[in-house]
């Protein structure tokens, strides 16, 4: 087992517009990328539970050419609305860091 913190070269979050938060998992080599992509761990059920959204709100797109997996979820509230904690959406990656991927 290894965590996404250990396996990714970049694990970032950012707004995709004012309503969505997008998370990019990027890898340095194709073996690691394919290990994570094909593990089945990064699935709508996991993302929905980590980000407290419903599964049909989750988008997961593997992007082979850049060895990356893109995950997109709705923001908690629109950027800058009352109750927001992260206007740029730049620090929402934390829950993914400890996700474990089997060998």
């Amino acid at each position: 087992m290894a965590t996404l913190s250990e396996l990714t070269s970049i694990l970032r979050s950012k707004n995709a517009g004012a309503l969505l938060c997008t998370l990019d998992l990027m890898f340095d080599d194709v073996v690691t990328y394919e290990r994570v992509r094909d593990s089945g761990v990064i699935n709508p059920e996991l993302i929905a539970s980590l980000y407290h959204v419903s599964q049909n709100e989750v988008s997961i797109i593997p992007y082979d050419v850049a060895m990356a997996i893109k995950v997109t979820v709705p923001r908690l509230v629109p950027s800058g609305s009352f109750g927001d904690t992260d206007v740029y959406g730049a620090q929402q990656h934390g829950p993914l860091l400890t996700v474990e991927i089997p060998d």
Partner: protein, 455 residues
């Protein structure tokens, strides 16, 4: 169509700066035009609401000054999109004033087009009545009330207003809110280049140095279009693009790297190929543009959300930290009672307390629930329709948080370490996005009036 068309993106955001050395190298590359995006909604709704940029006027003047000098010297067009950050009337006016100031100071003469992107409520009501406005993502349908409540709204133009401005003889185009890629796609599409390649290149270079390695944040980016592929290369000879840095760029701030939406269609990168042409240059081919059967522009609108007052303090009493969530609930109830005595009803304000050290970054999405930090940061915020109410509620909230009792309290002189005097910080009128929709239009020029100015 010529064999080749070259463009330079000076900076990913006008006012964030670019290296003069990179810029001067870029100018020597036989360019067809230079351009910069000036906009982003990333800093949130305030800047569109207040009509101000999120970079300084000085920084805008520095970047535009160099670009004007280069464009006039090489006699090529210069395009700016989303002027002033949000591309709204007061933001465009500020950048226009800077350009006119530079022209006057240096004796520059040129023809400029100023393209407006603000949308009137009457126009939006008419579009809504005809069913032409729909949500772009998870937001409620727009209603007549949504439009009535809007404080300021812009639409994002496509390439057509830029093209019309150039046909009108503009050398400098200063546009309000525009899609980032339209700024760079307007001229190549006029000259007949393949739309898939044009739009994909524009999407990559609109962030300028973001695809350069090493990332200095100061690099200018060169894009070279050919009939069947395009090249991307940094202007500075010491930096380079890698296959990976370019391929990865379509991930950034987009929900999908394969489908990128523009007003009249979608850039599809599913079959795009990325190849290292030389040490510094990446070659891309195979990108497609799928034309839509309708023309839609994105609307970005804000409404007034009220006057905010904030208050920051620290707490390091273990007894308080252990029960902080219950304590905040208790304090909120005290505030409700005490402001009622001031004739402030609970529907007249909103109070939120962020607890840094526990859930300040992710709020209810924070997965770590059992941490026991030795200290926490408290950030209280109040929103109310007027500043007096906002301050009055915060004064009561501060008092409640500072002096309410809790079981086992030993330090009865005050529960918080307050770093500043004054402690309560009014930050003025705030805004929130209420329009994040798309609007179908028949004529891509209709909502974007073009004003020609001879300087």
């Amino acid at each position: 169509m010529n064999d080749s068309l070259s463009m330079m993106a000076t900076t990913g955001l006008l006012g964030y700066g670019f290296g003069e050395e990179a810029f001067r190298h870029g100018l020597e590359m036989d360019l067809d035009f230079i351009a910069a995006d000036a906009g982003s909604m990333d800093p949130g709704p305030h800047y569109l609401g207040a009509g101000v940029p999120f970079v300084s006027r000085k920084a805008i003047k520095r970047d535009i000054g160099l670009m004007l000098e280069g464009a006039l010297d090489k006699d090529v067009p210069m395009l700016i999109g989303s002027a002033g950050g949000g591309g709204s009337a007061p933001q465009v006016a500020l950048v226009r004033e800077v350009i006119e100031e530079i022209a006057a100071e240096r004796g520059y003469h040129f023809r400029m087009a100023v393209i407006h992107a603000d949308q009137s409520k009457d126009y939006l009501h008419e579009k809504l009545r005809r069913g032409k406005i729909e949500p772009l993502g998870p937001i409620e349908d727009a209603t007549p009330r949504t439009i009535d409540e809007t404080h300021r709204v812009v639409a994002m133009m496509g390439v057509e207003p830029f093209q019309q401005a150039l046909r009108n003889g503009a050398q400098v185009v200063l546009a309000g809110r525009a899609t980032d890629a339209s700024i760079y796609s307007a001229i190549p599409l006029m000259r007949g280049y393949d739309p898939g390649l044009v739009w994909h290149l524009s999407k990559i270079i609109e962030c300028a140095g973001a695809v350069a390695v090493p990332k200095s944040g100061q690099d200018c980016m060169i894009g070279i279009l050919k009939p069947d592929h395009f090249l991307v290369v940094p202007a500075h000879p010491d930096s380079r693009c890698t296959r990976m840095s370019v391929a990865a760029h379509t991930l950034y701030e987009n929900p999908s790297p394969y489908h990128l939406e523009e007003p009249d269609g979608t850039v599809v990168t599913v079959d795009s190929t990325y190849e290292q042409a030389d040490e510094r240059t990446v070659k891309v081919a195979g990108s497609r543009f799928e034309r839509s059967n309708r023309y839609t522009v994105k609307l970005e609108g804000v409404r007034r959300a009220g006057y905010r007052t904030v208050f920051i303090a620290g707490a390091r009493d273990p007894g308080l930290i252990a029960i902080i969530d219950d304590y905040i609930d208790l304090c909120s109830e005290r505030v409700r009672q005490q402001v009622a005595a001031l004739d402030i009803g609970e529907d007249q304000y909103k109070l939120n307390v962020h607890v840094y050290g526990k859930s300040g970054t992710m709020a209810s999405r924070e997965p770590v629930q059992d941490a026991t930090p030795h200290e926490i940061g408290i950030l209280a915020e109040v929103l109310a329709d007027d500043e007096e109410t906002s301050k009055a509620v915060m004064a009561k909230a501060r008092l409640a948080l500072l002096h309410s009792d809790f079981p086992g309290r030993k330090c009865i002189s005050g529960n918080l370490a307050i770093p500043f005097s004054p402690s309560d910080i009014p930050v003025g009128q705030t805004y929130e996005f209420n329009l994040w929709h798309i609007m179908e239009i028949d004529d891509p020029l209709e909502p974007f009036p073009i004003e020609m100015v001879d300087l």
